[in-house]
C-alpha cells in the first residue's frame, strides 16, 4: 500500500485545491482597489463601504434572510415529521408515494419545480383567492418544499443509525409516545436538526431559479439581484458580498461542527450508561 499513499495525498490536494481556489480568489479580489476585478491595484476595503450604501442589495439581503430563517424553521419541523414517518412507522398505505415525494425535490431540476409552483399559485389564486399576488409568502412556501427534502434525508438517516432500544425502554417504562419523542428522540437527533436547519437556511438564501419564478414584482431576493448584476460582468462589490457570506457561513458551520462533536460525545456516553443500567436491571430481574 506504500505506493498508493502518494496517490491518495495527491488526489486530496488537487481535489481540495479545485474546490477552494475559486472561493479564495473571490476573497482576495474583494480587497482589490482597482475596479477591474482581476487586475491588482492595491489593498482597499472601499467595496465593503460601497456595499453598505447600496440600498437595493441591502433590501434584497434583508428579504432573503427573513425568507431563509422562516422557511428553514418550517422545513425542519415538517422534515422531522417526515423523517420520523419514514424511519419509525414501518409500512403503511401510500408509503411508496410518500418516500418518492420526499426524495424527488432533492434532484428535481429547479426550473421544473419553479414553474410548477408558480402555476399552482396562479391556479390557487383563481380558485380560492389565496395567495393574493406573489411575494414573500410564495417564496417561503416554495423554499420549504425544496429544503424539507434535505432535512428529511438527514433526520431519517440519523434515526436509522440511532439505537431504538432507548425509545423502547422509555415506552416500556410507561412514557407516552409524544413524551418519548420530546425527552429521548429529539435530544439525540438534535445535531441532525441543527445541520438540517443550517442547510435549509443556506439553500434558501442561495436559491435563484425557484425564487425568480414565484417572486412577484418588488420582492427580489438577494440571488436575483446578484444574478442581474453578474450578467453584466464581474463587479467588485459582489466580491465583497461573497466574502461576507463565505466568512459567515464558514464560522456558522465550524461552530455547529464543534458543538455537534461535543454533544455527540456526551450523548454517546449517556446512552451507553443508560443501556448498561438497563442491562443490569434486566439481569437482576431475571435473578429474582
Amino acid at each position: 500500500m506504500q505506493g498508493k499513499s502518494w496517490f491518495r495525498m495527491l488526489s486530496l490536494i488537487i481535489g481540495f485545491a479545485f474546490l477552494y481556489i475559486p472561493i479564495a480568489s473571490l476573497i482576495v479580489y474583494s480587497f482589490n482597489a482597482s475596479k477591474l476585478v482581476t487586475v491588482w491595484g492595491g489593498f482597499s476595503t472601499k467595496w465593503y463601504g460601497e456595499l453598505l450604501h447600496n440600498a437595493q442589495i441591502l433590501n434584497a439581503a434583508w428579504l432573503s434572510l427573513r425568507v431563509a430563517a422562516i422557511s428553514a424553521t418550517i422545513s425542519v419541523i415538517l422534515g422531522t415529521l417526515a423523517g420520523m414517518v419514514l424511519a419509525r412507522f414501518g409500512p403503511f398505505k401510500g408509503r411508496t408515494l410518500f418516500s418518492g415525494l420526499t426524495t424527488a425535490p432533492l434532484v428535481m431540476p429547479e426550473v421544473i419545480t419553479g414553474l410548477s409552483l408558480l402555476l399552482l399559485f396562479v391556479t390557487m389564486e383563481q380558485l380560492i383567492g389565496w395567495p393574493a399576488g406573489r411575494g414573500m409568502t410564495t417564496i417561503i412556501i416554495s423554499h420549504v418544499t425544496l429544503t424539507m427534502a434535505f432535512v428529511t434525508v438527514l433526520v431519517q438517516s440519523r434515526l436509522t443509525q440511532m439505537d431504538e432500544s432507548l425509545e423502547e425502554a422509555a415506552l416500556d417504562l410507561g412514557a407516552r409516545p409524544w413524551k418519548v419523542f420530546f425527552l429521548i428522540t429529539l435530544p439525540i437527533i438534535f445535531p441532525a436538526l441543527l445541520s438540517g436547519w443550517l442547510l435549509a437556511f443556506t439553500l434558501s438564501l442561495d436559491d435563484l431559479v425557484i425564487a425568480s419564478f414565484v417572486a412577484g414584482p418588488g420582492s427580489s431576493t438577494l440571488p436575483m439581484v446578484i444574478f442581474s448584476k453578474v450578467r453584466l460582468g464581474v463587479s467588485p462589490d459582489i466580491n465583497a458580498l461573497a466574502t461576507i457570506l463565505v466568512v459567515v457561513v464558514a464560522i456558522g458551520v465550524a461552530v455547529a461542527g464543534v458543538m455537534m462533536t461535543r454533544q455527540q460525545k456526551a450523548r454517546d456516553r449517556d446512552a451507553q450508561m443508560a443501556l448498561a443500567a438497563n442491562q443490569q436491571m434486566i439481569e437482576s430481574v431475571k435473578r429474582a
Binding site: 480568489s25 487586475v39 414517518v85 426524495t103 428535481m108 399552482l120 412556501i141 440571488p223 458551520v253
Partner: protein, 303 residues
C-alpha cells in the same frame, strides 16, 4: 371525552398527514397543473393561456385540448437539440465528477478517523456557501484577463489569452465544480462502511493491491457510484445558472430554453410542455434513485 377521541385522528395519522399533505399540495398537484397547462393555448391575458374547460352552454362542458405545444416540440429541432445537448453535457459532467470524486472519497475514507471528519467538513463546506457566487468566481478566473490566463501567460505556456469563458469548457468546469460534493458524499459514506478485512483476505489469497481494488472495492462501492451519479446527473440535465453565466449565449440547454420560453416569450403553455417532456425523461432515474436510497437506509438499519 371518549367520543371526541374517536373523531380526532390519532397521533400517528396526524404526524404522517401533515408532511404528506404539504408534499401532495405543493409538489405533486403542481405537476398536474403543469400537465393541464401544457395542453392549453397561449393567449394574451393574465394568466397568459386559455382555460381548458369551458361551459359552452348551461349543460355542456367544452374541453379544449391543444396538442400543438407538443407537436411544436417535435417539429422544431431547437428543442430536440437542446434535450440531446443537455443530456450530453449532464452525462459528461457526471463522468468527470466520478473521475475526480472517487479518488477523493476513497482517500478520505481511508485516512485516520480524526482527519476523516475534518476532510468531510472541508468537502461539505463549499456546498454551504452560495452556489451562485461560486459560479460567479469562475467568471473572474476564466476571463481573457482572468487569473488562469494570466498565470499561464506568466509561466510562458501561452502568449495569447485563450478564450475560455463562454465556451463548453467553462460550462463543464462550472458543472463539475458545483456538483462535486453530491458525488463525494454518497461515495464516501459507502466506502467508509466497507469491511477492510475483505481486502486483507483478497491479499492473502494472492490478489495484488490493484486487483483487490478492481475485484473487491469497486464492485462493493457500486451503490455509492450509482447514487452519486444520479444525484449529479438529474439536476444537471435541467441546469440553468451555469450555462447562462459561463457558457456561450447560443449554447442550447433545456433549462435555458424553458426559462426563455417562460420569461422572455411569456409562452407558459410551451414552457409547460418543455417541462413535461423533461419530467417524463427524468421519472425513471428519479424512481431508481428513490429505490436505491431506501435500500441504503434499510441496509443501515440492519447494522
Amino acid at each position: 371525552m371518549n367520543w371526541l377521541k374517536r373523531w380526532l385522528p390519532d397521533g400517528r395519522t396526524l404526524v404522517t398527514a401533515v408532511p404528506y399533505l404539504w408534499l401532495l399540495l405543493f409538489f405533486l398537484i403542481p405537476f398536474v397543473i403543469v400537465l393541464k397547462i401544457s395542453f392549453s393555448q397561449s393567449a394574451i391575458a393574465m394568466p397568459p393561456y386559455d382555460p381548458l374547460f369551458q361551459w359552452a352552454s348551461e349543460k355542456m362542458l367544452q374541453v379544449k385540448l391543444n396538442f400543438g405545444n407538443f407537436a411544436f416540440l417535435v417539429e422544431d429541432n431547437l428543442y430536440w437539440k437542446s434535450y440531446l445537448n443537455s443530456i450530453l453535457v449532464a452525462g459528461v459532467s457526471t463522468l468527470l465528477c466520478l473521475l475526480i470524486g472517487y479518488p477523493m472519497a476513497y482517500a478520505m475514507a481511508r485516512s485516520s478517523p480524526s482527519t476523516r471528519n475534518i476532510l468531510l467538513l472541508l468537502a461539505v463546506l463549499p456546498f454551504f456557501t452560495s452556489f451562485l457566487l461560486r459560479v460567479y468566481a469562475w467568471i473572474g478566473l476564466l476571463k481573457n484577463n482572468g487569473l488562469v490566463n494570466n498565470a499561464l501567460m506568466a509561466m510562458g505556456v501561452i502568449d495569447q489569452p485563450i478564450q475560455m469563458l463562454q465556451t463548453d469548457f467553462a460550462v463543464y468546469v462550472g458543472m463539475v465544480y458545483s456538483y462535486l460534493p453530491f458525488m463525494i458524499l454518497p461515495l464516501y459514506s459507502n466506502l467508509e462502511k466497507m469491511d477492510l478485512t475483505l481486502l486483507e483476505a483478497a491479499a492473502d489469497l494472492g490478489c495484488k493491491p490493484w486487483e483487490g481494488f478492481v475485484k473487491v472495492t469497486l464492485p462493493l462501492s457500486m451503490p455509492g457510484i450509482v447514487a452519486g451519479c444520479l444525484l449529479v446527473f438529474i439536476p444537471a440535465v435541467g441546469e440553468f445558472v451555469i450555462p447562462s453565466l459561463l457558457g456561450d449565449p447560443g449554447m442550447l440547454m433545456i433549462g435555458k430554453v424553458l426559462w426563455t420560453e417562460f420569461f422572455n416569450n411569456r409562452d407558459w403553455p410551451v414552457a409547460s410542455a418543455v417541462a413535461i417532456a423533461l419530467l417524463l425523461f427524468l421519472v425513471l432515474p428519479i424512481m431508481y434513485l428513490d429505490r436505491a436510497q431506501n435500500a441504503a437506509n434499510e441496509d443501515g438499519e440492519h447494522k
